[in-house]
């Protein structure tokens, strides 16, 4: 760039100087010519005054005295040269000469005879043409010599100006060059070459702008990504700074605190209305220790954890903020509640047989039963109830196991075999009650847990036998992959149907007790179906019977 400046400057200098010079020369030339023309015209006038038509040589002498180089030529009307002061001998006709043709006007031309530029002028005087000729000033020579001087001066000028311009522009351009080097560095270009080309500045600036745009864009994307993540969390997140103002809050938290407005920057009191939570927050600011609070809201329970944030997160002042994390623990609390209920129910259920056992035994122990028959009955009752308690506990353990996440082993299960085995197990009861079993069993195998499937089938058949009428029948149909057990038992009313799968639900408590029922049979069946994704349907009609259908796939 510096070169360009220098070159341009020099060029301008050169051109203007040249122009100046040329115009000067031209002016000089013109001026000179005019002068000479006037001079020769003046001389002609004088010559014409002196010439009387005959004193050719006299006049010739005179002009020779005036100017040695002046030449007089007298030409007759017919063109014949009568006298010439410079040339002797015959001369051709001069009639055609321009100065003759145009009397009074100076003709400026090269003379072959004298080998130089001459000025000619003629007039008609006293019967003849009087023509004067004078050597033109060799103005060219002057100009030429002037030119050389000019050239030298000119070169000098150029040299000096080049140098100074160079120096000055260098000085002026230095800061720009430095900035450009800097720009080049930002852009990633370290070559010095670029620092001289001023076009590169705009390129670099464009480049930088592009870089900035890209950076801003990627920052925006990052910010959006983080925002998205924060707001997609299924937990609430609120961050308070050392001034107890809200620095960050995600959508989940906004929903919990039931606010929609933009509260970033506001004090937390705008967000938290619950006095208990406010107290907790203040405590954490005071004690710098983690704290928590359970919030019950809208049928859900949330655990709020308050933690002091290290100063590295916020800034480097010696203060800190607080993070509030909100987690929905309704599920956990629900499960806890159900467990509690189950235990309460279970202990309740176990108290009845226990009361009976203790009661009868105390009667016997205190000799309050005298009748032998009655005593026997009491002892039997005790045994029966003890067995029932055992059954209840076994069933409860089954349910607990089913609910737990225990690894279950799968194997090929022969459904037909299980049914046969179960019926064998109950052969005594079946005989005692004169029940008729109708089997329609096809070989069916499924992949499942053998023990649980056995339990399932056992409970269903158990019910069919327990709640049957004397001499009643049970129809068992097994097809791939469906089991139907139908009994002609006492049935269940529509009202009770909806509760049948509930734990410890019994339609007839007395009958159930008699049959050593636990109230958990169908509950276990339901659990197993849920665990292994079997579908179960249960229909019943009072006095007609019940039908259970299980789909294993």
């Amino acid at each position: 760039m510096k070169r360009r400046i220098t070159i341009t400057n020099v060029l301008i200098l050169f051109c203007s100087s040249l122009l100046l010079l040329l115009s000067f020369f031209f002016f000089l030339y013109d001026f000179n010519l005019k002068n000479e023309k006037q001079e020769i015209a003046n001389y002609l006038n004088i010559v014409c005054e002196v010439y009387d038509g005959e004193n050719n040589e006299q006049v010739g002498e005179i002009i020779k005295k005036i100017d040695n180089s002046m030449r007089l030529t007298i030409i007759a009307k017919d063109g014949q040269v009568l006298y010439d002061s410079s040339v002797n001998g015959e001369l051709e006709s001069h009639l055609e000469r321009p100065e003759i043709v145009n009397l009074g006007s100076v003709s400026y031309r090269y003379s072959n005879t004298l080998k130089t530029k001459m000025l000619y002028i003629a007039a008609f005087d006293d019967g003849n043409y009087v023509r004067l000729a004078i050597k033109a000033n060799d103005i060219n020579r002057i100009i030429n010599s002037m030119l050389i001087v000019e050239l030298v001066v000119f070169m000098l000028l150029i040299a000096i100006s080049s140098y100074s311009i160079n120096k000055i522009s260098k000085k002026v351009l230095l800061p720009i060059k430095q900035e450009m080097i800097k720009l080049g560095t930002i852009v990633g270009d370290n070559s010095d070459y670029y620092a001289d080309n001023i076009n590169v500045i705009s390129n670099n600036i464009d480049h930088i702008q592009k870089l900035i745009n890209e950076k801003v864009e990627s920052l925006e994307k990052e910010k959006n990504k983080i925002n998205f993540i924060i707001n997609s969390l299924q937990q609430g997140l609120v961050i308070l700074n050392e001034d107890k103002n809200i620095v960050l809050i995600n959508d989940y938290a906004k929903k919990i605190f039931e606010t929609n407005i933009d509260i970033i920057g506001n004090n937390y009191l705008y967000l938290v209305r619950d006095k208990n939570i406010q107290e907790k927050i203040e405590n954490v600011y005071q004690n710098k220790q983690v704290d928590s609070y359970e919030l019950k809201q809208n049928n859900s329970t949330y655990l709020l954890t308050f933690a002091p944030l290290g100063q590295e997160w916020l800034d480097d002042t010696n203060t800190f903020g607080i993070s509030i994390i909100i987690v929905d623990i309704s599920g956990i609390r629900n499960v806890e509640k159900m467990k509690k209920e189950f235990f309460a129910n279970a202990s309740h259920e176990l108290k009845s047989p226990l009361t009976t056992i203790i009661g009868y035994q105390q009667l016997i122990a205190n000799d309050l039963i005298s009748d032998e028959e009655e005593k026997k009955k009491a002892i039997n009752k005790t045994l029966k109830e003890a067995n029932r308690m055992n059954n209840i506990i076994k069933d409860m353990l089954d349910i607990a196991r089913l609910e737990g996440d225990i690894k279950r082993s799968y194997s090929k299960v022969d459904l037909k075999q299980i049914i046969e085995d179960t019926l064998d197990l109950y052969s005594q009861e079946i005989k005692e009650n004169h029940l008729v079993i109708n089997k329609f069993l096809t070989d069916t195998y499924i992949i499942g847990n053998e023990s649980d499937v056995t339990k399932l089938i056992k409970n269903i058949i158990d019910n069919a036998i327990k709640y049957n009428k004397k001499g009643g029948k049970i129809n068992i149909t097994l097809t791939p992959y469906e089991l139907i057990v139908e009994d002609s038992g006492i049935g269940i009313s529509e009202n009770d149907l909806k509760h049948v799968f509930e734990r410890f639900y019994r339609v007839d408590k007395t009958k159930s007790k008699e049959m050593l029922g636990t109230g958990l049979g169908l509950s276990i069946v339901k659990h197993i179906c849920q665990t292994y994704n079997y579908t179960i349907t249960f229909d019943s009609q009072i006095d007609v019977g019940s039908k259970v259908k299980i789909k294993f796939k």
């Binding site: 309740h348 108290k351 009845s352 009361t355 009976t356 203790i358 009661g359 009667l363 309050l368 408590k509």
Partner: protein, 220 residues
């Protein structure tokens, strides 16, 4: 002994056990397995005591309790709750609603019997009133003064019993009238006349004091 207990318990075995025990103690007992059958009989004949199970098939035992206690004429029926609920809150609820005692299942039958006996004793104590040298047996309908039987009319008996039950306290004529004769307009002089007769028969004019303008009082 003339003591009637109603037992409301849906578990037949437990009901049977209670039955045996109570009978052995010499009380009369009738067992009901649900609320409906209980109320059917209750309104015909009221017992001295009710053994109440809370978990009944057709109605919550506490409802039965509330219903019984809503009628003041049932106030002298002792109600003992026998329940499998053992939370303190259940006990508190039961007792606050008007039960006189609460026993948890499984219970020691000897304990149950002792408690029943304790309630019977208190009842009995309320059946025999003593004031000075006068003893009134409500069940036997006998008044004795210094071991001598005094013969009173029905109304006289009732008035004397009322005054002795509240010995030391003044009972106004109106209260005496309402308690003994019930509602209806009676001549207030009736009371005075009965009192006079009682004093005569007791041969003691100081036993029943007259508090002028207020009523009568048995001295302590």
């Amino acid at each position: 002994m003339n003591y009637l207990i109603y037992s409301i318990e849906d578990d037949k075995d437990i009901a049977h056990i209670i039955n045996v025990m109570v009978k052995k103690q010499g009380y009369q007992i009738e067992t009901f397995y649900n609320g409906k059958s209980f109320f059917d009989t209750f309104y015909q004949k009221k017992p001295n005591m009710i053994l109440l199970d809370i978990n009944l098939p057709d109605i919550n035992g506490l409802e039965i309790l509330k219903r019984i206690r809503s009628d003041v004429s049932n106030d002298d029926i002792d109600i003992i709750i026998i329940s499998a609920n053992r939370l303190v809150i259940d006990k508190v609820d039961g007792l606050d609603l008007g039960a006189d005692d609460y026993i948890e299942k499984p219970f020691d039958i000897l304990e149950l019997m002792s408690r029943i006996n304790a309630h019977v004793r208190r009842f009995k104590r309320s059946r025999i009133i003593q004031a000075g040298n006068v003893i009134i047996d409500k069940d036997a309908h006998i008044v004795k003064k210094d071991d001598q039987i005094i013969s009173l009319t029905s109304k006289e008996f009732d008035i004397l019993a009322l005054l002795c039950e509240n010995k030391g306290n003044v009972i106004s004529r109106d209260i005496i009238l309402n308690s003994i004769w019930g509602n209806g307009s009676y001549e207030s002089r009736t009371v005075d006349m009965h009192i006079k007769s009682i004093r005569n028969k007791l041969n003691d004019n100081d036993f029943i004091q007259t508090v002028y303008g207020v009523g009568y009082r048995v001295r302590v």
